[in-house]
Point group: C2
Chain length 353, copies 2
């Protein structure tokens, strides 16, 4: 268990790091943010920032030496950086969770190995692979790079045969995975936490709506029947236990007539868990810090319904109106100019019964 | 209205500055904290810190030049520092509010001038003044320095004639005020906000319990009848309007058989308003930042009952237990070792209906 005043190292200084840093302070910890880009959002609310690349071994070494434990806000941390850091300080969540979530094929192999359902998938490195995979999945299907995809990037949909060539070209030679289309009625996600003591706590599942590959809204409660709700939580707990995971994970699930299928997992706090700020005593950010710091998990019971809406690009022009809206908690990330697709903030609209 | 990314200068880096800084970030602003002591609590969550004294004109000038607006977490800012700062940037709340609240006699003269009730009081600079004042108020009474008192410091109770000499000696020659005892059933406080547009919003009154001159708990709702509740809010609004005030103010009131008497006012966010973090969409810290930044005041409706308890000195030893308590939101201030009387953090216990 970290002592009061201990320093938590955060890899990544975006909005997730920013909200993690505030949560860490609330528990009496300091944060040291490591981020290649200058003036990241987390710099406004952290104790210390290192601006350096993930290939800067001296900076990584100094960073590790200045902190008591290391965590991260994004999963695509270069392996070489992790090698350097891991020799010096504990990293939570662990390397296995990172390795699995960094590679879509490893992730799906892991999930299916646990007996969990996923969309049909096949590795693709060539046109021949792709044709064979499509013969299995049919169309439509989605081709994705196995690594470094987020917010719909590195993805191409294949609806008709003419899409096949351009989709493969869009991968730019990167190893890819073809995923068959799933006939799902909705996507939900479970924000799950596992403490250093092995205890697991899941927030109530939220229902996600995406636009252009980017999360638009999460609504709690999700429209699930009691059996689905229980399944969602059990699936998340199985994943966390199998990984001996410490921290918060976002588990995205498709609701299908055949049951819940796992879409993907993210070994970190998750955009679809921002609603917990407005409706839980302990939100996902504090829950993650508690886990990483070896503290007991906190009370994550949900006490109101919430609609979380991302403010993407020009959505921030609505801020003046949102400032006047009742039951509406605004969170801005301190980013500069709005750009299309850029997450500028979010709002939690609370609906009290 | 401040633009996104604007910098708010905060005088004082204690726990109030710390929580103001987090609120400012949530609205997309940056904070620059000015604080004489090294490593203050606010430094963990602010964009920038200046460590310099209030007599350092060069540092004050540079600070003012780096910010867009100035606010503060404590009222005892030296006048000379304010003179320097005010020439360069707007300060909210304004000088008049500061001047009045820095001097107990000015404060009481101001309040009685508005027709508001206070405890009987008289200025004391000599034994003769004190004897004359005691003849009016009777005993018990409290002698207080007119300036720089907080958390029960600079106060001496006079219960019997033998207390008179020691009480006067305890003032160490400072100008003082004798306050008659008020037969009050309870103390409540109203956290009131006034926006740059003149609109006023008050949080539901909280009921305060002190121990050793330090706030111990605030409970909402306070035990007030509807008439008292309306009076409390009207009194606070009258004070803010009379001062053309911009920001949050804490107004402490005594509940007496003759109605509500004003105990004191604090031109800043207030310890007795910490419960708003757990039970309002917009808490007192964000409300203050909104006002200072020229944004509209936010939704401060209370949606649950709360008991706020300060963690003073060794109370922090209860943190392990508090981390496991349901409905309990913990806030630690990142201070070092606990000392008697030192505010180390607070907890908000939420009671849902």
């Amino acid at each position: 268990m970290l002592e009061p005043g201990a320093v938590i190292g955060l890899l990544g200084g975006g909005q997730l790091g920013r909200m993690l840093s505030v949560a860490a302070a609330r528990l009496g910890f300091r944060t040291h943010v490591y981020e290649p880009a200058a003036n990241p959002p987390a710099a406004d609310v952290c104790h210390r920032v290192t601006t350096a690349g993930y290939d800067d071994i001296a900076a990584l070494t100094a960073f590790a030496g200045s902190v008591d434990v290391i965590t991260y806000e994004f999963e695509n941390i270069p392996t070489s950086a992790l090698d350097t850091l891991e020799r010096l300080r504990p990293i939570h969540p662990n390397r296995r969770a990172l390795a699995i979530s960094q590679d879509r094929i490893s992730e799906k192999d892991f999930l299916t190995g646990l007996g969990l359902g996923c969309a049909p998938y096949a590795a693709v490195t060539s046109r021949a692979d792709l044709d064979a995979a499509l013969a299995r999945t049919g169309m439509p299907a989605i081709l994705k790079t196995t690594r470094l995809g987020y917010d719909g990037k590195g993805q191409a949909r294949i609806t008709v045969p003419a899409d096949v060539g351009p989709a493969l070209a869009a991968m730019q030679g990167a190893p890819s995975v073809l995923e068959g289309f799933v006939d799902f009625s909705r996507e939900v996600s479970v924000i799950a936490a596992r403490g250093a003591d092995g205890s697991v706590a899941c927030y109530d599942p939220g229902e996600n709506v995406h636009e252009g590959g980017i999360l638009r809204t999460t609504t709690v409660p999700a429209r699930l029947n009691p059996g689905q709700r229980a399944d969602a939580v059990l699936i998340a707990a199985r994943i966390l236990n199998a990984l001996d995971y410490v921290g918060v994970m976002g588990v995205e699930l498709f609701v299908t007539p055949q049951g819940l299928l796992v879409n993907e997992i993210a070994p970190r706090v998750h955009n679809s868990g921002h609603w917990t700020q407005a409706s839980c005593t302990v939100d996902q950010f504090e829950q993650h810090i508690r886990a990483v710091a070896g503290l007991p998990l906190g009370d994550g019971n949900r006490y109101a319904d919430v609609v979380m809406e991302n403010l993407i690009g020009d959505d921030v022009l609505r801020v003046p109106e949102l400032l006047n809206a009742p039951n509406t908690a605004l969170h801005l990330y301190g980013k500069g100019a709005p750009r299309p697709g850029r997450k500028m903030g979010h709002v939690n609209r609370v609906i009290r019964g």
